[in-house]
């Protein structure tokens, strides 16, 4: 059997009295893309933050290439260079140009010289099609461009896996496409990705498995086809209907308004 790149085993996490994760387990293989979705407050973001140990889990184990990262005395900084993270609100370093946002990790963590770091950073910016914008500050970029710089920043560290925490949900509808396109390209190029998103189109295109989480537990998991054809649990069906209303075709939106008028 192939050793999974990432193995999450019975992860529990609470904030004060609030039990956010209640025993989540799954695996992610090399070059695999999995999508996590579910209602807000279900623990999706917390799960990602547990995986890169920004909020270490209370209970449970996480293995990266077979070695536990939740064990005591693990060098978390070293582990985090191998787990990239893309944030919902980009979290770019506001005082640094795009190129410096991408190269700061190479310089401060990997100890590369400025010239070398810039070369690699430019390559990463090229992947997200922003090489021309290298000298712009975050505030001079659109939301979509900022998020692509965020992706380049994670990419430049050459991590084993990249975690995406709702990367498009803070974006204007018109800017979502360019970010999803970059993510599609990355997935097709064989990047291992764990993506929290409600973009079902993206999920259908590249995800090997979808994981539905609600109230801190995995309710249902399966292929994109499984979810679009025959989801089992009532909670998932209900949620997918709502997504469909929001992101679905215009006819459906029209249907609803007509129904409302009749009612």
């Amino acid at each position: 059997m192939v050793e999974p790149l990432l193995r999450i085993s019975d992860v529990w996490k609470s904030y004060d009295d609030l039990q956010v994760l209640k025993g989540v387990s799954f695996e992610l293989l090399e070059r695999d893309v999995k999508v996590i979705f579910g209602p807000s407050g279900s623990g999706k973001s917390t799960l990602l933050r547990c995986i890169n140990m920004l909020n270490p889990p209370d209970k449970g184990e996480i293995y990266l290439r077979g070695s536990s990262i939740t064990a005591p005395k693990v060098d978390l900084n070293a582990i985090r260079t191998r787990i990239g993270m893309v944030f919902q609100h980009f979290n770019l370093f506001a005082h640094l140009k795009a190129i410096d946002n991408v190269s700061i990790g190479l310089r401060r963590v990997k100890g590369l010289h400025k010239k070398e770091a810039y070369k690699k950073a430019l390559e990463a910016l090229n992947v997200v099609k922003l090489a021309k914008w290298a000298d712009h500050y975050p505030a001079q970029l659109s939301g979509g461009q900022q998020q692509r710089v965020g992706i380049a920043r994670a990419l430049a560290m050459e991590p084993d896996v990249i975690l995406f925490d709702e990367p498009t949900s803070a974006l204007d509808p018109e800017l979502i496409g360019e970010v999803l396109q970059v993510m599609l390209d990355l997935a097709k190029a064989g990047t291992t990705m764990l993506v929290v998103t409600h973009e079902m189109g993206f999920a259908r295109a590249v995800a090997s498995e979808l994981i539905f989480i609600d109230e801190g537990v995995i309710i249902e998991r399966g292929t994109p086809e499984h979810f679009s054809v025959s989801p089992k649990s009532e909670r998932v069906k209900q949620f997918l209907r709502k997504l469909d209303v929001l992101y679905g075709s215009h006819e459906k939106l029209l249907d609803i308004s007509e129904e409302e008028e009749k009612g």
């Binding site: 985090r80 005082h95 505030a139 001079q140």
Partner: protein, 256 residues
């Protein structure tokens, strides 16, 4: 009725002591600049402790540095500056220690007069020390406010690419916090010259108000004397505010 000279005569009489006004003003500014500078580093250090030190509490042998910083800040903000000055001035005496502070003097010729300036002795040392400690407490809160305003998102992003907490603070949070703090920090820069004059009360420091006192006794024109001193302050503080404005604009992050 008491004889009063006309305003022009009064002005000329007081300005006749311009060398004393100048040396007093220079000494006040000398203490001010040191206090602001030392207070800057004390303040930054305290703000970092107060904001970030509680993360190290998992090691039992490290005292709660954030709490200590908070107590320090509250003591220095909660007691009168004049009490702090007296406390440190009389402390060595109460402990039977004779303070041994190097005396530093400088003199230069300006126009037709020789101006002698004492830069350091025990009272001046106490003045700079106490003003620094006090200003540090106030500056700490300005810095803490601006550190908080940068937010945790960027700190987490820095850690997510493997930067250590310390390196993230140094390279991501501080460059932004120090830019953001300038407008509110200019408050402290504008307040401190006027706090500095309190050193007058520990006596033996020939700063601007002791010189003014001398001049008004010689000329019998207290109103004119103190108006001139006030004008010196308003010009200085306006210049300081302008300078900080310029620095704020120059260090602005493009697009923000």
């Amino acid at each position: 009725m008491i004889f009063q000279a006309n305003p022009i005569e009064q002005l000329l009489a007081v300005l006749g002591y311009w060398d004393r006004l100048l040396s007093g003003f220079l000494l006040t500014m000398w203490m001010y600049i040191w206090a602001l500078l030392i207070g800057f580093f004390i303040g930054l250090f305290l703000a970092l402790l107060r904001q970030y030190a509680h993360y190290s509490k998992r090691w039992w042998f490290i005292p709660p540095l954030d709490k200590i910083a908070t107590v320090y800040i509250e003591i220095f903000r909660g007691t009168p500056l004049i009490a702090q000055l007296f406390f440190f001035f009389f402390l060595p005496n109460a402990l039977n220690i004779s303070p041994d502070i190097m005396v530093l003097k400088t003199s230069f010729n300006f126009l037709d007069r020789e101006i002698t300036l004492k830069l350091l002795d025990y009272p001046i040392f106490v003045g700079i020390l106490v003003l620094s400690l006090n200003s540090g407490a106030y500056q700490a809160e300005y810095f803490r406010g601006s550190i908080i305003s940068v937010g945790t998102g960027q700190l987490e992003a820095a850690q997510s690419i493997g930067m250590s907490r310390l390196s993230s603070i140094r390279h991501v949070v501080l460059p932004q916090a120090l830019r953001r703090v300038i407008p509110s920090w200019s408050n402290e820069a504008a307040y401190l010259p006027k706090y500095t004059v309190l050193v007058y009360f520990i006596g033996g420091v020939e700063e601007i108000f002791s010189q003014a006192d001398f001049i008004q006794h010689k000329t019998f024109f207290p109103l004119t004397t103190y108006i001139i001193v006030a004008i010196m302050f308003i010009i200085t503080i306006t210049l300081i505010s302008k300078l900080l404005d310029v620095i704020h604009k120059r260090t602005r992050i493009p697009g923000l």
